[in-house]
């Protein structure tokens, strides 16, 4: 499989999953803030973005296994950077919340932080390695 084909397959799965995640998250937040549905239903609906997140990571995993070893290494480096950012923010901010009464940072933001950091790192590494 060529990188272009793998990329095409990746976006065909990733983009819909992220769209479902975004719409689901906004929709559930809206429903929850207006108390339009019972809590039990809200919990059930909250599974929709969770499944979407799973699909997004599955698409990423599949992409990393479909490209060749050099391109896979770039993906792994980008992913490690994303994980590092999430861990630094989570543990750093957590310490501030515990010790310095910093305002609460909802864990909801960890996933967007991961994707932004991972995407930026992968783009920078790809550029540096002459991929594009």
């Amino acid at each position: 499989m060529t990188p272009e084909q793998a990329t095409c397959r990746y976006f065909k799965a990733f983009v819909p999953a992220i769209c479902v995640y975004a719409v689901g998250t906004v929709g559930i937040t809206w429903l929850g803030s207006r108390s339009l549905v019972p809590s039990a239903v809200l919990y059930m609906l909250a599974l929709v973005p969770v499944v979407a997140i799973f699909l997004a990571f599955w698409a990423h995993w599949r992409f990393a296994t479909e490209v060749d070893e050099f391109l896979r290494l770039i993906q792994i480096k980008g992913t490690l950077f994303g994980i590092a950012c999430v861990m630094i923010v989570a543990s750093g901010w957590g310490t501030l919340e515990t010790l310095a009464d910093a305002p609460n940072l909802p864990v909801f933001w960890l996933l967007p932080i991961f994707w932004v950091a991972q995407s930026a790192a992968t783009a920078i590494i790809s550029k540096r390695e002459g991929v594009f």
Partner: protein
């Protein structure tokens, strides 16, 4: 790691894309190996050696040996 991949490819008149097709890797990977930015895995190095009918040492130069 230095290598003779570019010279061997040129001998056959292949582009990076054509060599990539032969090895089932991307053009970007061939470019990175030729530029010395990426050292291929052992299976890929064997594949490259087989394709050009050489042993690995004839294509890839061990930096440690080169320093000696």
């Amino acid at each position: 790691m230095k290598n003779r991949l570019k010279a061997l490819r040129a001998e056959r008149g292949w582009s990076q894309s054509v060599l990539g097709d032969h090895l089932d890797v991307s053009r970007q990977t061939i470019n990175a190996i030729e530029a010395g930015r990426y050292d291929p895995s052992l299976p890929l190095a064997f594949k490259i050696a087989r394709l050009f009918g050489r042993v690995i040492e004839e294509i890839f130069e061990d930096d440690v040996c080169a320093d000696d």
